[in-house]
């Protein structure tokens, strides 16, 4: 089978690695682009959220490149994401494409299908081999996440804007090629050295948290590279969610994960005392957490018509007011233009700078 999957930030790196280890022919869809978005929007329901449209665009582009099997995560609500696979399958069928969908929902009694799908992904390999393939893929993602975290600190201070970005991109491809843990380790070490040798200014940057719906936060094409743009304005970014958090939460629930969850619920409670699906509660909790951490502000990213984030967006103004913590919500859809996003970011950063100066005086 010639297998593909949707893009979400660096997710492809881990999935490609794991599937390749299992002996599959992997067709990574082209990086999301204007074309992906156009193709996806053309065949998606008008008010579906951006992730669905980009996913569908990715599938169409991967099918062009010969993919015949799609791997997709599912879910049981209440966020729409859980039903994407079912709808996308129907759309592709109606368009006349004959592709297999392996949608991984929580089994909920349908164990037979679930195990069948798992077996197909496992490609006849023993269970331990499947695990080790997955762990190898996750390891690469972990390294990339760590480097990006460091990168955010450097980006805000670098003298030649773009240096950090360049190193991270180069590392991403070197990690893709890495075929052993040793190679991963070596790549990581070298990348850290390179990052630390980037010429930097000695400044105390404004610190901004970036939060919101995970797909928009993790996919730079969709969010108009908001993190990079902030870096160019000498702003230090801390992202509230990373791809490995998501993978781990869905694959290997841990005690630490549960504790973290409890903490988030606790923080959001005075404003939003119930989960609302997706990352809505996280967005509200993040405002509380980062206000306490002494950050200057928060950028909240969401896809147009995203239900959980609309709840968060409705509540954030109150949190912002109570904690005197500026929050900028940016809503993305296929009509969003980069210039508009940049203008709003610049205005927001100006506001944060002025606010900090006033406090200092």
């Amino acid at each position: 089978m010639r297998v593909t999957f949707p893009h979400m930030g660096n997710l492809w790196l881990g999935l490609k690695t794991a599937l390749r280890e299992l002996g599959h022919e992997v067709i990574v869809p082209p990086k999301p682009s204007k074309r992906t978005l156009t193709l996806g929007s053309q065949y998606s329901p008008e008010f579906a959220c951006l992730p669905l449209k980009i996913n569908l665009g990715c599938f169409l582009e991967a099918i062009e490149k010969g993919a015949d099997t799609i791997i997709m995560a599912g879910g049981v609500g209440p966020c729409r994401f859980g039903y994407y696979g079912a709808v996308q399958k129907r759309i592709l069928e109606d368009l006349g494409y004959n592709v297999d969908f392996l949608i991984f929902d929580p089994p909920q009694g349908r164990w037979k299908e679930f195990i069948n799908d798992l077996k197909r992904v496992g490609n006849g390999k023993p269970v331990y081999k499947i695990f080790s393939a997955l762990l190898f893929g996750i390891k690469k993602l972990e390294v990339m996440d760590e480097l990006e975290k460091l990168g955010h600190k450097i980006k805000a201070r670098e003298i030649n804007k773009g240096d950090t970005m360049h190193i991270l991109e180069k590392t991403l491809h070197r990690l893709d090629d890495a075929s052993s843990y040793k190679e991963i380790k070596k790549t990581k070490k070298e990348a850290i050295e390179e990052l630390l040798s980037v010429p930097r200014k000695n400044i105390d940057p404004i610190r901004v948290a970036v939060t919101g719906e995970i797909f928009v936060v993790l996919e730079p094409f969709v969010n108009m590279e908001v993190e990079n743009e902030l870096g160019k304005m000498d702003v230090e970014v801390e992202r509230t969610l990373y791809i490995t958090d998501w993978v781990k939460e869905h694959l290997v629930p841990s005690l630490r994960g549960i504790r973290k969850h409890k903490l988030l619920e606790e923080m959001a409670k005075p404003y939003l005392s119930h989960f609302v699906g997706g990352d809505g509660q996280l967005s509200v909790a993040s405002a509380v957490i980062y206000a306490r951490k002494g950050f200057q502000g928060m950028v909240h990213l969401m896809p147009f018509t995203c239900m959980p984030e609309i709840i968060a967006q409705s509540i954030l103004p109150r949190v912002s007011k109570d904690l005197s913590f500026p929050v900028l919500t940016l809503v993305f859809d296929e009509h969003t233009g980069k210039a508009g996003v940049l203008t709003r970011l610049e205005a927001f950063v100006d506001l944060l700078r002025r606010k900090r100066e006033v406090v200092k005086v």
Binding site: P45, E46, F47, A48, C49, G74, G75, V76, G77, P78, C79, R80, G82, Y83, G85, A86, V87, K89, R90, I91, D94, I103, D105, Q108, Y271, L272, S273, H274, F275, V276, G277, G278, G280, F304, T305, C306, M307, P308, I310, I311, Q313, S314, I315, P317, R318, V319, V331
Partner: protein, 322 residues
């Protein structure tokens, strides 16, 4: 003690139940009047742009009641009404959104109903509310039982072909059940009750269809077992209860050809609707191009445009019948 029930969102699903319960535990129930321009304006001015029209309308009703000096607002948090499904995320956060956005409103009764959890059953919610007002346990229990009966009676009346408003009139004003008029064509109207039955936001679509001589069948007039059965045709169990009912009703009408065509009413930007409308339309196409029309509502929907579309659809159905 005056408790206000806003006439929006889940009102059309549960009003008789809520009202009977609250009255039997000794509250005076104040219900906001049918949506009107002032109520919509109140709502749109005081809510976020990105929330859907029904939520904006709900904000309007809430503010209307706050202005009437009720002691409490009744806005329960309906999380799950069946084990395998949720409601839309907006219902999960509704009391919080209301409290965060509107200041100076009366306290909100926000008991949670989540049948996935034992301690969040509707009965537990009823007990919580009753205890809050110091009502004796046996009285709360009997009030809860009457409220369940009222809900069954309400649903039974709608199965006879009454709209929720008509059924509420029969239940509370002692009106007689009127015989349903028939028409030369039958049209199924499917969508959220808070859209379909809000005469203001739909610009009285049901009345307009009736005036054109069409007989209307809505989702609430279809038996639950038929809805469940036809919802099984979905490729994967839908995890929103109310939306599953809408798909089940639409599939039932498409598969059985009980109507000549279907109007699917949705609100602009509605998340769940965006997916289920796709599924309903695709099913209609697959079943021999069954006639279907999607009407999207928002606060800018114009009367003339809507009327033209309804007329064209009705004409088309009549022509097909000949």
């Amino acid at each position: 003690m005056k408790v206000g029930i806003p006439r929006g969102l889940l009102f059309y699903h549960y009003y008789p139940m809520w009202r009977v319960f609250l009255e039997e535990i000794g509250a005076e129930v104040i219900t906001s009047p049918p949506t009107a321009k002032e109520i919509l304006d109140l709502g749109t001015e005081n809510s976020q742009d990105d929330v859907c029209l029904p939520v904006k309308i709900f904000f309007g009703h809430t503010l209307y009641l706050a202005d009437k000096k009720v002691d409490y607002l009744f806005i329960p948090r309906i999380v799950a009404v069946e084990k395998e499904a949720y409601t839309c995320p907006k219902f999960l956060g509704l009391p919080d959104v209301i409290r965060s956005t509107l200041s100076d409103i009366p306290p909100v009764i926000d008991a949670t109903v989540n049948v996935k959890k034992k301690d969040k059953s509707p009965l537990k919610a009823a007990l919580e509310i009753g205890r809050k007002f110091g009502v004796p346990l046996n009285k709360i229990r009997s009030a809860y039982e009457s409220s369940c009966q009222a809900l069954w009676e309400y649903r039974r009346l709608m199965l006879k072909g009454l709209t929720p408003d008509e059924a509420i009139d029969v239940l509370f004003s002692g009106k007689k059940v009127e015989k349903k008029e028939s028409g030369d064509i039958k049209i199924g109207v499917v969508g959220h009750p808070y859209n379909v039955y809000d005469r203001f936001s739909t610009l009285d679509m049901l009345g307009k269809l009736k005036n054109m001589g069409a007989e209307v069948i809505t989702g609430e007039m279809i038996r639950q077992e038929d809805i469940e059965h036809h919802a099984e045709f979905l490729p994967k169990r839908l995890f929103w209860s109310y939306e599953r009912d809408i798909v089940g009703s639409a599939f039932y009408l498409i598969h059985t050809k009980k109507v000549d065509g279907i109007i699917n009413v949705v609100s602009f930007e509605c998340g769940p609707d965006s997916l289920i409308t796709e599924l309903i339309q695709s099913e209609a196409r697959r079943q021999g191009n069954f006639p279907i029309m999607v009407i999207t509502l928002d606060e800018h929907t114009g009367e003339a445009g809507l009327l033209t579309r309804l007329e064209a659809f009705v004409d088309m159905l009549r022509m097909r019948k000949r």
